[in-house]
């Protein structure tokens, strides 16, 4: 019995030591050049799950020691260097989700959070991850009013430019989402329409409201972005409102192609740390004509297919990281400024897209009508919209293509002015 107890204690203490030494061991092995499998994450300097770069090695200085910066950064650095960190985060969330799902079963709810403290909702009947709507706060109406005033003010300054707005909803802004139905005062599209659109006298608001059913068809199930199907439906509404609806192909005739690989775990899956569901990247089919064009991103020519990396995907060239942002990988990332010149446009007009990442799979569609499509991402520009328009007098139409939450942001409101 004593031998048994001793053996037990040796094994137990050893395993404890192994776990607590994992960071040190990993760094030592990394330092002496021992190859470790990719899945340990030891060689990675970025987390695809958290969409951030890991904390760099902290710099030691007296000032940093005294004000605690060094300590905070060292702890963050150590935490980031735990092997299989992303797996640990996913595992922890899965463990919590098991308990939450059990509770939901007992209570008879189909919708529940993906882990304790998460803002993402797991909705089993539709096999979808949804964002939890915010509750309406007393200051929300004022925030929308400020954004509205800023936008309308800009539109008034440029009477020769047509201003349009289209706000595709994230799942938390759907009026009839399963989560919104379970809440008393969710902040959804109706509230925004009431406060943001009401005083927009010089901007034409294009109806972007979709039902939950339309959302399921036109949006990813694990990502907040729309698919090209949803984007094309949006384009149809926009084109109709802006006067080039004749270019729109009837919905049933548009050809789409879905890439069965790679698997796409979208932003909601990553934020919610839930891989229960997945998506696939969808693009237009081979018969769907995209006008020939050249795209300059932040002033540089990034070559053919800089707006959609079709050839790469057809050849199986994608990141081996399971959690990579495929939406950005296939289409493109978010940039402060883009300039796309169409070689097959019907007119030589210039469209300015004041956009966020929702534009990444729709911008090509405007190349049939507009000779030039400029893109201005409010989140990455320091100049205001007015300053940009002053510098680009060739703009004929402005389309504000942003999802709703962006308008609540105070710095966004200042930039829109």
């Amino acid at each position: 019995m004593e031998t048994l107890t001793r053996t037990r204690n040796v094994i137990f203490a050893s395993l404890f030591a192994l776990v607590t030494c994992c960071v040190i061991l990993a760094r030592v092995l990394h330092g002496i050049g021992v190859p470790l499998p990719d899945w340990t994450g030891v060689y990675s300097d970025r987390s695809a799950l958290e969409s951030r770069y890991y904390t760099p090695r902290p710099k030691l200085s007296a000032g940093a020691l005294l004000d605690g910066t060094f300590q905070t950064e060292t702890e963050a650095w150590t935490s980031d260097r735990v092997p299989m960190r992303d797996a640990a985060l996913l595992g922890n969330a899965a463990l919590q989700r098991t308990g939450i799902a059990l509770a939901a079963n007992v209570m008879g709810y189909d919708a529940y959070h993906t882990f304790y403290g998460s803002s993402i909702i797991h909705y089993t009947p539709s096999k979808v991850l949804l964002r939890e709507p915010s509750q309406i706060q007393p200051t929300d109406a004022e925030a929308y009013q400020k954004a509205s005033d800023a936008l309308d003010g800009v539109a008034q300054k440029y009477p020769n430019i047509r201003f349009f707005m289209y706000n595709p909803p994230n799942s938390d802004y759907l009026d009839d989402s399963p989560a919104a139905r379970l809440m008393t005062a969710p902040l959804t599209h109706s509230f925004m329409a009431e406060h943001l659109y009401a005083s927009l006298d010089h901007v034409t608001v294009i109806n972007a409201q979709v039902s939950y059913g339309e959302y399921l068809t036109g949006w990813h199930h694990t990502d907040h972005h729309w698919t090209v199907r949803g984007a094309y439906d949006g384009y149809a509404r926009i084109a109709d409102a802006m006067g080039f609806g004749d270019l729109v192909i009837p919905a049933g005739e548009v050809e789409y192609a879905t890439y069965e690989q790679p698997v796409f775990y979208g932003s909601d899956a990553r934020t919610g740390r839930c891989l229960d569901y997945d998506d696939r990247i969808m693009d237009f089919g081979p018969s769907f004509h995209i006008p020939a064009h050249q795209a300059l991103i932040n002033g540089e020519d990034w070559g053919d297919e800089s707006l959609a990396h079709r050839t790469k995907y057809q050849h199986g060239e994608w990141s081996s990281n399971l959690l990579n942002n495929r939406y950005a990988e296939y289409f493109h990332g978010d940039y402060a400024n883009m300039c796309i010149t169409s070689y097959e446009a019907r007119t030589d007009k210039t469209l300015l897209l004041v956009a966020d990442s929702y534009s990444n799979n729709i911008e090509r569609l405007f190349l049939s009508e507009y000779g030039t499509v400029l893109e201005y991402d409010v989140r990455y520009n320091f100049d205001t919209l007015s300053t940009y328009l002053d510098a680009h007098s060739e703009v004929d139409d402005v389309l504000i293509l942003m999802s709703q939450p962006d308008f609540m942001n105070e710095s966004m409101q200042k930039t829109l002015a």
Binding site: E2, Q71, T78, S79, V82, L89, G99, L102, Y109
Partner: protein
């Protein structure tokens, strides 16, 4: 946990001598403290030096010698320590109170940041000073060893308050063994799991309910939040205590346990014998008893108790809600002693337990909510003033998502595992019919804990079962009650038992059963429990790495 701990343990165990290990522990403790308090570490060093010098002064004269000299030294030491904690912890509180009363900013509010752990290490130093004065402990001549005792990192930040008289031999003659190290690891893992998997998670629920405020959460949300906080504070405190005891065990120290399943108490008096034992015994031995304790008139006794509970409340935080919390318990303890205590003893155990639960759960509201207006709103919600769910839907409250966590917390706050271990040991020791035999002294759990003199009434006895044949006349209910009573009397459930030896130990060598199957079964159970502990450890690490909500409540101590 992934940097400091393994490096320290490696350095500690690589050093060959006791002196070197003690120095290593001192250096690591100072580094540990300086990591969080790069400036205030100097304050702790000053406190160590001053207290060491004063106790050595005391120690130069024997306890029975000139009273004046020793008394003055003691007073100087007490004043010094009280001034240190008084200034850094209470200056702002006193300034604000006086200024509010006078309606003008007469006293400057320095808004000093509170040095982490000052409440713990100051009380430790005070206890040492008084023990040396009383002759209960010899002064530590080596300032470095004294510094190691005060600053010892396992219990520096969140207790338990370790008395020097309890560990003075261990400073120089403790023995680190593999078995003690492994058992220390087990305790550490349990403490970490309590903190990371229970406290940190249930704290989310508590915080959400508090943030939403009373009108938005109603009766259900407010009680869910308060009960969540009740579990949060217990597992936070108890978790850290277990981690401290476990770390100490790894290093060869034996600390007294700090929490003994307080939520199973059947009276407030019992509750305070099980909750934060090191603190309550500190105030008992250094404030209550010197004031006269209960060996005085009733009026004086009430005064003594009031002083203790005023100090207890204030020790927990420099704010009026803590004073209110202390007064709440002081009044209840007086009531139990003078008014309804006798009647309480005649009630069934279930009712006594319920009475205690209501009191401590409600008491936590004063501890938790510091803003008076918010507390009032919360109490209105608790009493149904805003309906069942306030302005939210039940789904929106999200407290229902924590149902499994509540269940686990409930089970973990009861001695379920010790009882299971007791059953296994008893079965293995006594033979096939052990569970049906009459509870006797010989059949008591063979743990290291001594049987305590007080506790629940003696279990009802039954006729011994015939050899090899089960006594079918005994009902399951009777057997269960017998076992529980026996367990209560013989094991760690006893309220006066505060030794930590035997905690988390499943000593297979203590099983003297002639049945090989029983021994094998026990070995398998021990192995399984280790596997489960490792799984808990990995889960806790995952929770820690995920950087989830970590309400480090000890910043106010």
């Amino acid at each position: 946990m992934f940097g400091f701990l393994p490096l320290f343990l490696a350095a500690y165990f690589l050093l060959p001598t006791r002196g070197a290990r003690n120095l290593c522990l001192l250096a690591a403790s100072l580094l540990f403290y300086a990591w969080g308090e790069p400036v205030y570490v100097l304050l702790m060093v000053v406190s160590i030096v001053v207290n060491w010098a004063l106790t050595n002064r005391l120690g130069r004269r024997p306890a029975h010698s000139r009273v004046d000299y020793r008394r003055k030294t003691l007073i100087l030491g007490v004043v010094f320590n009280v001034l240190v904690i008084g200034f850094f912890k209470y200056e702002s509180f006193v300034a604000q109170t006086i200024n509010d009363l006078l309606g003008a900013a007469i006293v400057p509010d320095l808004e000093l940041p509170l040095p982490i752990g000052i409440s713990f290490y100051t009380l430790q130093a005070l206890s040492y000073l008084i023990d040396v004065y009383r002759g209960d402990a010899l002064p530590q001549r080596n300032m470095l060893w004294f510094g190691m005792y005060v600053s010892c990192f396992p219990q520096l930040v969140a207790g338990p308050i370790v008395r020097y008289q309890d560990i003075f031999e261990q400073v120089t003659t403790r023995k680190e063994t593999l078995d003690r190290f492994a058992n220390g690891v087990r305790l550490f893992v349990i403490g970490l799991a309590q903190k990371a998997l229970l406290a940190n998670v249930i704290a989310l629920c508590a915080q959400q309910m508090l943030q939403k405020t009373g009108p938005n959460i109603g009766l259900i949300g407010s009680w869910a939040g308060l009960i969540a906080y009740t579990f949060q504070i217990y597992f936070d405190f108890a978790g850290y205590s277990f981690m401290a005891i476990g770390l100490g065990r790894m290093l060869g120290f034996s600390y007294l346990r700090n929490f003994n399943y307080p939520y199973i108490s059947k009276s407030i008096t019992e509750f305070w014998r099980r909750w934060h034992i090191s603190l309550s015994t500190f105030f008992r031995d250094y404030v209550y008893i010197p004031l006269g304790g209960s060996r005085c008139s009733t009026a004086r006794w009430v005064l003594n108790l009031s002083a203790v509970w005023l100090l207890t409340g204030l020790w927990h935080g420099a704010a009026w809600n803590y004073v209110l919390w202390g007064a709440y318990y002081g009044a209840l303890l007086v009531g139990e002693k003078l008014l309804w205590g006798k009647a309480l003893e005649h009630l069934p155990g279930v009712l006594r337990h319920l009475y205690t639960i209501v009191i401590f759960v409600c008491g936590w509201s004063f501890f938790w909510i510091t803003d008076t207006a918010q507390l009032t709103l919360y109490w209105r919600a608790l009493t149904g003033g805003f309906g069942l769910t306030g302005s939210s839907t039940l789904w929106e409250l999200t407290c229902w998502e924590y149902l499994p966590v509540y269940v686990v917390c409930l089970l973990a706050s009861m001695p379920v595992v010790p009882f299971a271990k007791y059953l296994v040991m008893r079965w293995a020791q006594a033979g096939r019919n052990a569970t049906l035999a009459a509870p006797t002294a010989e059949s008591a759990a063979p743990t290291a804990e001594p049987a305590a003199p007080t506790g629940d009434p003696a279990a009802p006895t039954a006729e011994p079962a015939a050899t090899g044949e089960p006594n079918v006349a005994l009902s399951a209910g009777f057997v269960t009650r017998s076992l529980l009573a026996d367990f209560a009397q013989a094991s760690i459930v006893n309220p006066k038992h505060i030794r930590s030896e035997g905690l988390c130990e499943f000593d297979l060598s203590a099983i003297k059963s002639p049945r090989r199957a029983a021994c094998a079964a026990c070995a398998a159970i021990a192995l399984l429990s280790d596997v489960l502990l490792l799984a808990l450890f990995v889960a806790s690490c995952m929770q820690v790495v995920s950087g989830s909500f970590n309400p480090f409540i000890y910043f106010q101590f």
